[in-house]
Symmetry: C2
């Protein structure tokens, strides 16, 4: 199944917003084995939109459009396609009621132009909009499927996943279920990971294994096709086990896990608390953990000690230690972790110190970072990073490495506990 | 001048990366008055790339391509266009030397496939790559300009701004200079700002005024066309003054200013230091300021006091105050600001407390936030926010409002100082 994604909106062509819809839609289509050969962006102009559709329908089986379903004069995707394909627009009562209910809930008066949003192609499959007003629709004309979705991502995404993808999957004539498991890695590069799992990768056709580099580390997506979800999972399971055997040390989670969600989940599991002392990251580690709802059960707080004075005065790091080993040192990271743990009386303490860049810091070159993790009654662990990015990339990666090492520590603790 | 942007790369069609290059290029082209009518994305496939180019050259004066200039087999943009247009590829000695120097600096051995990167169209304008290896190029065939840029944003962006935009501007036959000044606003919505400046907006044709909502507030871009930069600036100046008269209170900066860069610049100007006590934002305020190089001159540090105990024990906020007024209160925000300022002996202290959501906190509904700003020997100021976003949107906006109010305080201080 060949798909072309057409995003409609002059604001994209002006560079005011980025076409993230195409990214999301492409990811979802990849899951059902559809091939996306082109992305097109066209402005709110009926002639150019018609031209784009005429090109797309010659080279694709599915023309998937987003945007231009709203109530304003600029919104003309439906009207353009109806004229082009000779379709009739008809009022969809269900959608109209849903729009009326939407205005009632928001305690706003519904103006007449909003009714336009409930117009759909006669004979089309209507895709309900559960997070907004304009419904989507899908229709087949001359063996081409036209799928229309709204533009706002929070409306488009659930409609795509819940309505359009199952519709297209059914139409694709592929009887099989496709399911994936994503393994999430940190502390290993994409090239190195690919190299390590190459023998496993090379052997696979079902499931397939696809690596992807993201800001949160590398992922391996294991995708299996089978008649049932159970059979697909049975194909995935042994391959996952084999991958874990080879590179399990770098795996921090699966599927929807993030470094911070995983760290928090493990902390909560152990009824453990944490405090952090941050230098170059200046609060980013705590802020990142703080993204997770319910974090107050585990994150007691911490200190940002940006300069040497603050480290000594606020945390009681020994002046002599700093003079002997320097601010960017294993000893300083360990001391930060121990002192902040004591200060907040938490189970774990984290210390992060280093030279973010662009200039060296305390004699250490930009990108040198030390992370300390302290636990009550245990010798603190420290980890050195040698990063080579720009200032804020280095800070960001320092936080992610700190979360990754914390997850490792917490996972080991779990293993100890279960022995 | 009609431009079509073609991004080449299968990873975009797979949804592995987003086509942010098209966004950036569109923004830059808008500045020279070029019209972008289409964005196209095509994979690393010579036939489909050729098809896309054939379509583009019929509907655009400029076909601007990014991606596919690298050393691997997948990189075939140059080869495809050369074959399509009947151009010869020839080794560019300058580019080759630059690539060789690149490998030397990185202390890596240069493999033969890297030489391919120095091939350019015979007779084309070569666009040097100052941040990477593959040069870009521009060539005119049958009244269509073909501009080829590399794919990695850190290589593409400087090449576009420094080489391709001036090239296209010269070719556009537009004699006029186009220049812009951007005014940056916070604490006011796009619709409200547009409403307030509507009388000024309505009158303008040169300069034009374009509002844009961004994550860092709303911007107004004032763009003037004139024979010289001086004349263009003379057109901009009175309009800017008029806007400042009406909505100046919401302006925090201009052009490349961000909330954090502006706050830091004002702190440094006054040789002032700052410390922060953060609750719901859990370090985000300090982390945001910490993005700026040279921040250690102003940011002494601070504490994250996520729960009530930490506020009392770590900062000495009075237990009775918290019992009387609650954690989410003007009094608590003021006390956090005062106490952290004292603790770090800084010029300014910032306190941020509130209910991030999704659930209420200490009896206050999600989105209620108090910001306190303390200065030595002055009564602390407090500001209330009533936000309605999701948890992390609320946290993010709390930080930005804190920076915005801090900028206001610092600017007032400057005015006092100059009286």
């Amino acid at each position: 199944m060949k798909v072309e994604i057409i995003a409609v909106g002059s604001e994209i062509l002006l560079g005011q917003i980025t076409n993230t819809n195409a990214t999301f839609i492409s990811q979802q289509l990849a899951q059902i084995g559809a091939n996306v050969y082109y992305h097109t962006v066209v402005g709110d102009n009926p002639n150019r939109l018609k031209d784009a559709i005429e090109i797309a329908e010659k080279r694709a089986d599915v023309v998937l459009l987003t945007g231009g379903l709203g109530p304003t004069k600029d919104d003309m995707t439906k009207e353009t396609i109806a004229a082009h394909l000779g379709l009739t627009l008809t009022m969809n009562e269900e959608a109209l009621q849903s729009i009326e209910a939407y205005f009632k809930r928001a305690k706003r008066t519904m103006t007449d132009n909003n009714k336009k949003q409930a117009l759909v192609f006669e004979g089309s499959t209507v895709l309900p909009n559960r997070t907004g007003m304009a419904p989507g629709m899908a229709v087949e004309v001359n063996e081409v499927h036209y799928v229309l979705l709204p533009g706002p991502p929070h409306e488009m995404q659930p409609m795509l996943v819940d309505e359009a993808i199952p519709y297209l999957h059914a139409k694709s004539g592929v009887d099989e279920i496709i399911t994936s498991k994503v393994l999430k890695f940190y502390g290993v590069g994409e090239a190195e990971l690919e190299h390590l799992v190459q023998p496993i990768l090379a052997r696979q056709s079902n499931p397939t294994i696809a690596p992807l580099a993201t800001a949160d580390g590398v992922t391996l997506r294991i995708t299996a096709k089978a008649e049932t979800i159970e059979k697909a999972n049975m194909l995935i399971h042994p391959v996952e086990a084999e991958i874990r055997e080879v590179v399990g040390e770098f795996i921090y989670g699966t599927d929807h896990d993030t470094l911070s969600s995983k760290a928090l989940a493990l902390l909560k599991e152990q009824h453990a608390t944490i405090a952090a002392a941050e230098s170059l990251t200046a609060g980013m580690f705590m802020a990142e953990l703080g993204r997770e709802p319910g974090v107050s059960a585990a994150l007691l707080g911490g200190v940002v000690v940006y300069n040497e004075r603050a480290k000594i005065e606020q945390l009681g790091v020994s002046e002599q230690l700093l003079q002997t080993y320097g601010i960017v040192s294993s000893e300083c990271a360990a001391s930060l972790a121990v002192k902040v743990r004591e200060k907040f009386n938490s189970t774990y303490g984290i210390g992060i110190t280093g030279a973010a860049g662009p200039t060296p810091h305390d004699g250490q070159k930009a990108g040198t970072v030390w992370i300390g993790i302290a636990k009550e009654e245990e010798v603190p662990m420290t980890y050195q990073l040698q990063l080579s990015g720009a200032r804020n990339t280095n800070r960001d990666r320092s936080v992610k490495f700190a979360l990754y090492y914390l997850i490792q520590q917490l996972a080991q603790q779990n293993e100890k506990g279960s022995e």
